[in-house]
Structures are given as structure tokens and as C-alpha cells.
């Protein structure tokens, strides 16, 4: 393991060390830039509210005139809750829905804890594509922007290679890391995990996004970035190994997640992996996302809750 000395010295007390000299002209330029940015941050919210109001009035006018259903800008809401094990059945958790009723969810992959996100809105979500502005290393596999016929699950031709201007709906760095041991059942090598995966999830009706191995106290950051409600989570992962093929060993590893919930688009970008949270956050902050305009409808005739694991797993 390489330990750069500069990296070891994070967050040191340097109160007594003076550096630099006052430069009034430079300070004035910095103040001007900062104040301009703060003013600019205030304006777009006001402009967006005005645009939304204008759009709402226009849509109402269209409805009135033509009597047809038109797309109305709606908001998507996200709520996190820690699930409690349903003592009755294995691999089943209890969720409290919006009415406060308990709902039993069969997730199929049990850990000690689970964090669930209900993500819902009044209108169907729109499909999105993304383009990374920064990555710590190249991806090993990707799926390009989806086709206009709405084929979400197609794969590219094997001789297709991405270009700099390409957009994606799935990106992963799945490169092999050094093995740290074998699984306890002796089947296959274990490595330190997938460095990163970037994929979108959507606010489908009654879909519950579940992150296994995490609890409420693992939410490292919960904040708002423009349109996104952002959760940064450090999720423990238990690994049971036989490092030398003999004695069983339990180690705890971590997977980190930066989840970007779009409040206007109904999509969630999951940037997760074994890389440190600040690296994943860097990827997230530099990621461009675009709305394809295609509505996604995932029929739910039974009306039941549908759990969907968002963990990044390597088999």
C-alpha cells in the first residue's frame, strides 16, 4: 500500500502558520467573483419558479381549449427510511408506507440492516443519459445512449467503441483487483470490489430502492445540489473469507454511494463502488445528465410495492 505523505496529513492544525501577504487588488477581484456567483445562484431559482408558473398557466390554457391531457411539470419526492427485519420471514423487511402502515417486503438478499428510498411523483419519469466530466480511471464496460425505440435493455455491437462526445446509460469500472482470499465455500476468488458503477434508476410506481448493509447512521451527507437531493452513504459489507484456504476469516469492507435524486426529472443517478466517497462525489459533481424526453412507464397491475436492490455486487 502506498501512503503519500501529503495524503496522510489531512485536516492538520495549522492555526499558527502564517502564509502569504495581503493583496488588496486580488482580494477585490475575488470578492467581485464570489458576490457575482452568489447573486447568480439566487436568480436561477427565481427564474425557474417564474418559468414553472408560466408553464403551468400555459398547460391549463391548453387543457381548457383542447380538452386533452398534456404533460405538466411535477415534482418527485424522495424519502429515506431504515427498514426493520420482519422477524416472521427470512429475507423480508418491514417498510412503513405513506399512510404509516407496515408493509412486508421480500428483498431476497438479507443483511443486518437496509436503507430504503421511496421515490415517487405525480407523472412518469423521463429517461436520462449521462456523460462523465471526470473519472479516476477508464471504465471497463458501458452501455451507450438508448435507442429511440425505447430499448432499455439492448447491448451495443461488440465492435462499438465510445467517443468523447458519447452519452451513456451505464458505465462501470470492473477491472480485476488483487485477490484477497477465497470465499468460504471455496468457490472463486474475492477482491476488494468494483471501483465504480454509474447507472440510473427511476421513480416507478411503488418501487422501493433498497441499499443492503446500510442504516440511517451511515448517511454521511444529505444535501441539495440545485435540482438534486443528494445522499452520500458509506455501506458496510461483510466478507467471509478463507485467505489461506484454511481458517475462516471475517473482514469488513465498505462500498460507498453517491445517490442523486432529481426532483424534477424522477431519475436517480447511482454512483457507487469501492472508491472513497470524495472520489465518487467528484465523479458526481462533474457528471452531465440530459433528459431524453422519453417517458418511462413500468406497469404495476398488482399495485404491490416492488423492492429493487441498488447494491453493487460482484459475484
Amino acid at each position: 500500500m502506498k501512503l503519500p505523505v501529503t495524503e496522510l496529513l489531512e485536516d492538520c492544525n495549522v492555526e499558527y502558520i502564517a502564509l502569504g501577504t495581503p493583496d488588496a487588488a486580488m482580494a477585490d477581484r475575488v470578492k467581485a467573483r464570489v458576490l457575482n456567483e452568489l447573486a447568480h445562484r439566487r436568480k436561477p431559482r427565481i427564474l425557474r419558479l417564474r418559468r414553472r408558473l408560466r408553464m403551468t398557466l400555459l398547460v391549463a390554457a391548453v387543457l381548457l381549449l383542447f380538452g386533452t391531457v398534456a404533460y405538466a411539470a411535477g415534482l418527485f419526492r424522495v424519502e429515506a427510511q431504515e427498514l426493520t427485519p420482519d422477524g416472521e420471514s427470512p429475507q423480508t423487511w418491514l417498510l412503513h408506507d405513506q399512510s404509516g402502515d407496515e408493509v412486508s417486503l421480500f428483498v431476497g438478499d438479507r443483511s443486518e440492516r437496509a436503507l430504503a428510498f421511496s421515490f415517487s411523483g405525480d407523472t412518469p419519469p423521463h429517461e436520462v443519459e449521462f456523460r462523465p466530466g471526470w473519472l479516476p480511471e477508464d471504465p471497463t464496460f458501458w452501455l451507450p445512449e438508448s435507442q429511440p425505440n425505447g430499448d432499455l435493455f439492448g447491448t451495443p455491437p461488440w465492435d462499438w467503441a465510445p467517443g468523447e462526445d458519447d452519452w451513456y446509460r451505464y458505465l462501470i469500472d470492473d477491472r480485476e483487483r488483487e485477490a484477497i482470499g477465497t470465499w468460504t465455500d471455496g468457490d472463486g476468488q474475492v477482491d476488494s470490489g468494483i471501483p465504480y458503477l454509474i447507472v440510473a434508476e427511476y421513480a416507478y410506481e411503488k418501487q422501493i430502492l433498497v441499499l443492503n448493509g446500510a442504516g440511517a447512521e451511515d448517511i454521511v451527507k444529505h444535501e441539495v445540489w440545485e435540482d438534486y437531493e443528494v445522499y452520500e452513504i458509506r455501506c458496510a459489507k461483510d466478507i467471509y473469507l478463507r485467505p489461506d484456504g484454511e481458517a475462516e476469516q471475517h473482514v469488513q469492507s465498505y462500498e460507498n454511494y453517491v445517490l442523486l435524486f432529481s426532483r424534477s426529472g424522477g431519475y436517480m443517478i447511482n454512483i457507487g463502488g469501492s472508491l472513497p466517497l470524495d472520489t465518487l462525489e467528484h465523479i458526481a459533481r462533474e457528471l452531465e445528465v440530459r433528459d431524453t424526453g422519453r417517458e418511462l412507464i413500468y406497469p404495476n397491475p398488482s399495485g404491490d410495492y416492488r423492492p429493487n436492490l441498488i447494491n453493487i455486487v460482484r459475484g
Partner: protein, 185 residues
């Protein structure tokens, strides 16, 4: 300057208070950014990063301890400057000064954190001026010539004390079981 009062006002949205902080600390922040990113970047790039740091202060004022404002600014400045270099795929300074320890595997994260804690303890245990020299060089990225000038020493003396600091750091890591002697160099 009463940092506590200024931060209190910043938390309430007072931009005049933010401007006073910028007047007092922009030179400090500028110096750190310049140490990290110039060359190859230009003065306007430095000022962009400096501005980002004070915007971050505006956003995070609730969490900043007024008694450690300078340290907070230094930490954020380092991160922002390094992000700038990474965004342009440029190499970071001093990354080649590494301790190479034979520890691998899923415990790397925990060991890295423990090594960081031990490193801060090791630096804290250094006598002056060794501690100042070590922090100026490895934390604030100041060049040995500038450190020598600031502390009225010869550059060779600064380099010798840096070497001593690194040896002490390695010894403390080894004492605590981070790596082993044969592999830690």
C-alpha cells in the same frame, strides 16, 4: 478581526462579513493554491480556486469552528486545488513522496485512516521548527527555499529537518504495526 462574530454574521447571510473574511484570508488561501497549482496554471486559475474556497465557506459556515478557521481554510484549499489539477489530468505535487508499506487487502481503508491519525500524532510530537517545516512542506506545499526564507534558515537545514521528520513518521507507523521494517521505505 473577530472571526467568531464574522462567521455568525455569515451564517445569517451577511455578505459584508464574508467580504471581510476574504480581505483577511485571501492572501493566505492564494499562497496555498499557488504552491499547489502554479506552475502549470495561471494566476486567474489560482483566483478561481480562491473564490471557490470562499464560496465553500459561505455554504458551510454553519459547520466551521471560528477557532480553527485558518485550518479549515487550508484543508478546503488543498482539496479544491488538487481537484483543479485532477480535472485537468495534471499530476499532483509531492505525490512521489510515499511510504511504501506491505499492507494490502480489504483493510486498506481502515489502515489508511489509522496511518493518518498516527501521522498527525507524529507531526504533533515533532519539536519546533521541525513541525512547522513539515507542515509547511507537506501540508501547505511550500517550497524549501520559501520555508527557509520564512524561518531564517538555510535550505539545506530545512531539507535535513524534513528528512528527520519523515524518519520519525516511518518509525511511529512501524511501531504501531503499519507495515514492517523491511518493506516500509
Amino acid at each position: 478581526m473577530d472571526e467568531k462574530e464574522l462567521l455568525r454574521r455569515i451564517r445569517k447571510g451577511d455578505t459584508d462579513a464574508l467580504q471581510q473574511i476574504i480581505d483577511g484570508y485571501s492572501g493566505y488561501v492564494y499562497a496555498i493554491v499557488k504552491n499547489i497549482i502554479q506552475p502549470p496554471l495561471q494566476p486567474e486559475d489560482i483566483e478561481e480556486v480562491v473564490s471557490d474556497v470562499f464560496l465553500r465557506l459561505w455554504e458551510k459556515a454553519e459547520t466551521v469552528d471560528a477557532d480553527r478557521l485558518r485550518s479549515w481554510l487550508a484543508a478546503v484549499t488543498r482539496n479544491r486545488a488538487k481537484d483543479k489539477l485532477r480535472a485537468l489530468h495534471l499530476s499532483l505535487p509531492l505525490e512521489e513522496d510515499v511510504l511504501d508499506c506491505a499492507v494490502e487487502g480489504p483493510e486498506e481503508d481502515a489502515l489508511r485512516r489509522e496511518a493518518g491519525r498516527i501521522a498527525r500524532e507524529a507531526v504533533g510530537s515533532l519539536p519546533e521548527p521541525d513541525r512547522s517545516i513539515f507542515l509547511r512542506f507537506y501540508y501547505l506545499y511550500q517550497k524549501t527555499g520559501d520555508i527557509a526564507a520564512a524561518l531564517h534558515m538555510k535550505p539545506a537545514a530545512v531539507r535535513a529537518r524534513l528528512s528527520r521528520g519523515r524518519e520519525r513518521l516511518k518509525a511511529m507507523l512501524e511501531e504501531r504495526g503499519i507495515g514492517h521494517e523491511a518493506a516500509c521505505h
